[in-house]
Symmetry: C2
Subunit: 285 residues, 2 copies
């Protein structure tokens, strides 16, 4: 389906991610429409030739004509949208998303969805510390991962189309994971790291520390500048997996603390060598 | 004293830091000598015109002629060196160091030192992920902090000379702190961050996580590649201050975990906003 550029693509939620999707897909020649909250985003995107048309309303024509609908919304807004508006979708439409958690979303949407519309979930692991369509860019996905999380309700065709979408968007790594494996991976690699960063940033309020800050502390707290509305929602939506990862971290941290309390230098050195070896796996290739 | 380039400077321990000191100070015209373990380091440094002369032995002439001696050794090696060899130092010599912990070193050295030699402690907060004089550079200190940690045993002249040394070396921020304030600051900004990084790197050994790694995880674990001999010694040498910082971190992390367990989104958002505000203080100026 995707390679057929006569198909119409609708993006619901024209922010940083939605806008970046639009920029790339428009370049391939697809007809791109958008529905979003702010008229200024629509105006900007049309002026910049990022989309062909757009509306802040539930425009029946725009929604009813779309062959592929990409939802770039907060998780609960996405679920509410489908609940209230799915009757507007074209029969045979394929829908996908950008939601950063999967287990708490994918089954809910698939269970409530009309039988003539298919939802194939995906997580584009890309972002910036700024938001809004004005900051979108067609380079956002270079070097990044795109994860498709199919369930047994998905057709092979929809899975292939979604993988193809990831490749078209320019992601460097396109893969599939079960929703559960995805959530564990995200819980560890992304959410736990944000939990650590905001904890480090708020656990010691002593004044003037910033005078002596070096790169280590700056690196560990770069992501401590955080969108509180989005991340608190993502944490709660992935609660079980994230709590598991937090426990793994606390247990290991307490092990290290015990090593220090007992002057167990051998154990500390062994842990540091393990850390050094394992870190090499995570270097950029 | 420092601005008088007829004075002789001896560096004990010609590695990354010692070599970088030598490169900068040689450029100002000082006579630079070095004592270090490996002849290859001496040979390299003489060939590269980083030092004037050097030895792998306790050369009495080199040591006895030095007006300023900079010890760039592991903490326990530094203490042992002074215990065994301080009789070789010139009367009236000033000695300083690069040790990353202060409370457990400064008083020990000052208490055992001859009355005609003064020790003024300093911590150059600079480094690289590589070691050895071959990796030294005269640009190492740009943008970095240099902390002098005087005690009541120090003379105003020695403190001024040491501050001047930091400025000559090219540090962007030269300051004084008490040994205790220094150790608290280092415990938080440097050692705690390394504890966190090695814990994160070793707490979940699930395979293939690296396939999906993004910048957040890479940033938080860059320093998880760690010199186990040096850092385990530095942790133990700053045990009390570091354990305090680890407790502050664990307590805050457990607060966040409780917020998540109880779906307390308001508390999470408040913590995230605090984190975001506070992080702004730590931006590079």
């Amino acid at each position: 389906m995707i390679v057929d550029v006569s198909k119409k693509i609708l993006i619901v939620g024209l922010g940083l991610l939605g806008g970046s999707y639009a920029r790339v897909l428009k370049r391939f020649g697809f007809h791109i429409s958008a529905i979003t909250l702010d008229q200024s985003s629509i105006d900007y995107a049309i002026k910049e030739n990022i989309i062909d048309e757009g509306s802040t309303e539930l425009d029946k024509k725009i929604i009813g004509e779309a062959d592929l609908v990409i939802f770039a919304l907060y998780p609960h807004v996405f679920v509410e949208w489908i609940e209230k508006n799915q009757q507007l979708l074209k029969s045979g439409a394929l829908i996908t998303d950008v939601t950063g958690v999967k287990g708490s979303i994918v089954y809910t949407i698939q269970d409530m969805l009309r039988p003539d519309v298919e939802f194939i979930a995906a997580h584009p692991m890309a972002g910036r510390e700024v938001s809004g369509v004005e900051n979108s860019t067609d380079k956002l996905f270079i070097g990044a991962n795109y994860i498709v999380t199919p369930t047994e309700k998905n057709t092979p065709e929809a899975i292939q189309t979604c993988l193809e979408l990831g490749r078209l968007l320019g992601f460097s790594n396109v893969a599939t994971l079960s929703p559960e494996d995805h959530d564990e991976m995200i819980g560890f690699l992304s959410q736990l790291t944000h939990c650590i960063a905001i904890t480090l940033m708020t656990c010691n309020d002593k004044e003037d520390m910033q005078k002596f800050t070096g790169d280590s502390f700056r690196d560990l707290t770069r992501i401590a500048r955080i969108n509180d509305q989005m991340w608190s929602e993502l944490f709660v939506a992935n609660k079980t997996a994230l709590l598991n990862q937090m426990d793994l971290f606390i247990n290991k941290f307490n092990e290290l603390k015990t090593m220090l309390e007992t002057d167990d230098i051998d154990a500390m050195r062994s842990m540091m060598r393990h850390s050094t070896e394992r870190r090499a796996l995570f270097d950029k290739k």
